[in-house]
């Protein structure tokens, strides 16, 4: 695969600051975020010629969004693989821009999950449409989304001796970062999170169990939210205002729980190496890692699958606050507070990209001094079942 060095950059980002949006529709949130991200890039509405959409407003959502915004793209990509869709969009936009098919690619996201009372983790997951093979084999057993992740965590504990206290370290580090981020602090208050201060490992393991071995504080919060990312070609990147953040490598994979397969290893084990190889970089060269934290176990398995430690060593790896931005020995993980303590409206993948860009611009509220490289990994749908993995390597050069 050819390298991407200096051909595609992220030039604009925007994260909607509130977690209870109030008076905007989902399309409205997307449009507001898109405008702000274009403004951040120093570009205009009419410059957009590539549109990428995760389908959160419906299967044909990209048509609706193009109409709503009046954007008339030459490249259209509606890849919808869950919360990691935006990592896939970056991979596709990089490919499309490098091939000269478009020059300004827009990714936008909006959600009113909290206001609409969507119980993402423990709600009924019965399929609404016509039956399928999988709905007929799974619906009778009542496995909520959180349950799939719990099955991964339980197996990880059985296979490697991982403990609840080790999983809790992921939530503790996320909260440590969230408390430095004013938007996350307000989120914790606005969303009525009962324990909104610093978290200790014992707080997490003492919180009520949702699906053993996962406690409520092992689970991400549910918010409204939105965001947008603008990718541009190298020539545009050099002429716009903010410091460009280069896309250096991308990898995509899908995985499922196959007969005899190892549940503790996910799609990241295949998307990660592809992305690192294309970037010509190693995990230990990443100062920042933005890893999808739907649940604490998600981060643990992604760290292993991306190669920050060996398979089964994730528990010991995260001990002692290693994921914190101010603790050496590994990348700073989820420095905005993550889905666990800042923002999870259902599809968090876009916020992973936004915070990675903030870090590489030197604008994070938990800034790693002189951060030059970041890895982003989105995990979509249900780890422990069918899921997607998208890995993106970003660099400030």
């Amino acid at each position: 695969m050819p390298g991407l060095e200096s051909s595609v950059a992220i030039a604009g980002i925007y994260e909607y600051p509130k977690r209870l949006v109030g008076d905007l529709s989902v399309l409205g949130i997307k449009a507001v975020c898109a405008q702000a991200a274009l403004d951040d890039a120093g570009l205009a509405w009419a410059d957009v010629d590539g549109l990428y959409d995760a389908g959160e407003t419906g299967l044909l959502g990209v048509l609706e969004f193009a109409e709503y915004t009046g954007i008339s793209p030459r490249v259209i990509d509606a890849t919808a693989v869950g919360g990691s869709s935006f990592e896939f969009h970056v991979a596709h936009a990089a490919r499309d821009i490098a091939a000269g098919r478009c020059n300004v690619a827009l990714l936008a996201y909006g959600s009113l999950a909290r206001s609409q009372g969507r119980a993402i983790g423990v709600g009924s997951r019965l399929s609404a449409g016509p039956p399928t093979a999988t709905s007929n084999m799974e619906d009778p057993y009542g496995l909520p989304l959180a349950g799939g992740y719990a099955l991964v965590a339980q197996r990880h504990m059985h296979q490697y001796g991982t403990t609840a206290e080790q999983l809790a370290e992921v939530a503790v580090a996320a909260r440590y970062h969230a408390l430095r981020n004013p938007d996350a602090r307000r989120a914790l208050a606005d969303l009525g999170i009962r324990r909104d201060g610093e978290l200790r490992v014992e707080d997490v393991v003492a919180s009520p169990l949702v699906a053993d071995p996962l406690h409520v504080l092992d689970c991400c919060l549910i918010s409204d939210g939105g965001g947008a990312v603008v990718l541009v070609s190298g020539s545009i990147a050099r002429s716009v205002r903010p410091r460009p953040v280069w896309v250096l490598g991308t990898g995509e994979a899908l995985a499922s729980n196959d007969n005899g397969g190892d549940l503790t290893s996910g799609a990241a084990a295949r998307s990660g190496p592809v992305a690192f190889q294309q970037a010509g970089l190693r995990p230990d060269e990443m100062e920042v890692a933005m890893l999808y934290d739907s649940f604490t176990i998600t981060v643990l398995t992604i760290l292993e699958d991306l190669g920050f430690c060996g398979k089964g060593e994730g528990g010991a790896y995260v001990e002692g606050g290693r994921l914190r931005f101010d603790v050496p020995g590994g990348p700073a993980v989820n420095t905005d507070g993550g889905g666990l303590s800042s923002n999870h409206p259902g599809m968090r993948g876009i916020f992973l990209l936004i915070e990675a860009v903030r870090q590489l611009r030197g604008q994070s509220t938990a800034q790693v001094a002189g951060a030059r490289h970041a890895v982003v990994h989105g995990c979509g749908s249900q780890l422990g079942g069918r899921h997607s993995g998208g890995t993106i390597i970003l660099g400030a050069r």
Binding site: A119, T132, S135, D139, G142, L151, V152, R155, L263
Partner: protein, 156 residues
């Protein structure tokens, strides 16, 4: 506003309780799984084997995921297996499962080489952790046209 919401939820909960919500069942027509569920009426737990590459296939489908082969033979499992992983579900949204919490859900590796999702029953003396690697046997929950395969721990 918040108080009203709670009231409505309570009313909905009461209606569901008096109705005695039932386990969600497979729906038909669904060509891939129709034969699997038809056989459960006779308490047969079936899986497929690809005629072309001999791969064990589960859940049932029209083409082998290993080689694309279109001829898959249906075999009957002895219904014995080992729990690969288990969780105790304590929160659920569906009214049937809400009245059932807490309940065990597990991936079971059947001795014939396929893995299936199911519920583990008669496991009150277990935790999710202690169920992992335990031997189980299929246990049928009868409904009018089909039976649901569940699993129970067995002595080894």
């Amino acid at each position: 506003m918040a108080a009203k919401k709670t009231e409505q939820a309570e009313q909905a909960g009461q209606t569901e309780r008096t109705k005695q919500a039932e386990r969600p069942l497979p729906r038909f027509p669904e060509p891939d799984t129709a034969e699997f569920w038809r056989r459960t009426a006779a308490r047969q737990l079936t899986y497929q084997v690809c005629d072309q590459c001999s791969r064990v296939v589960f859940y049932p489908r029209a083409a082998c995921p290993a080689c694309g082969g279109r001829t898959l033979s249906l075999q009957v499992s002895a219904g014995l297996g080992t729990i690969y992983s288990a969780t105790l579900i304590r929160r659920a949204g569906h009214p049937y499962f809400l009245q059932r919490v807490p309940y065990f859900v597990a991936f079971i590796d059947l001795d014939e080489g396929f893995r299936m999702l199911s519920e583990v029953i008669h496991a009150a003396d277990h935790t999710a952790s202690s169920l992992v690697a335990k031997r189980v046997a299929v246990s049928w929950e009868e409904h009018s046209e089909l039976s649901i395969p569940l699993f129970r721990p067995i002595a080894t």
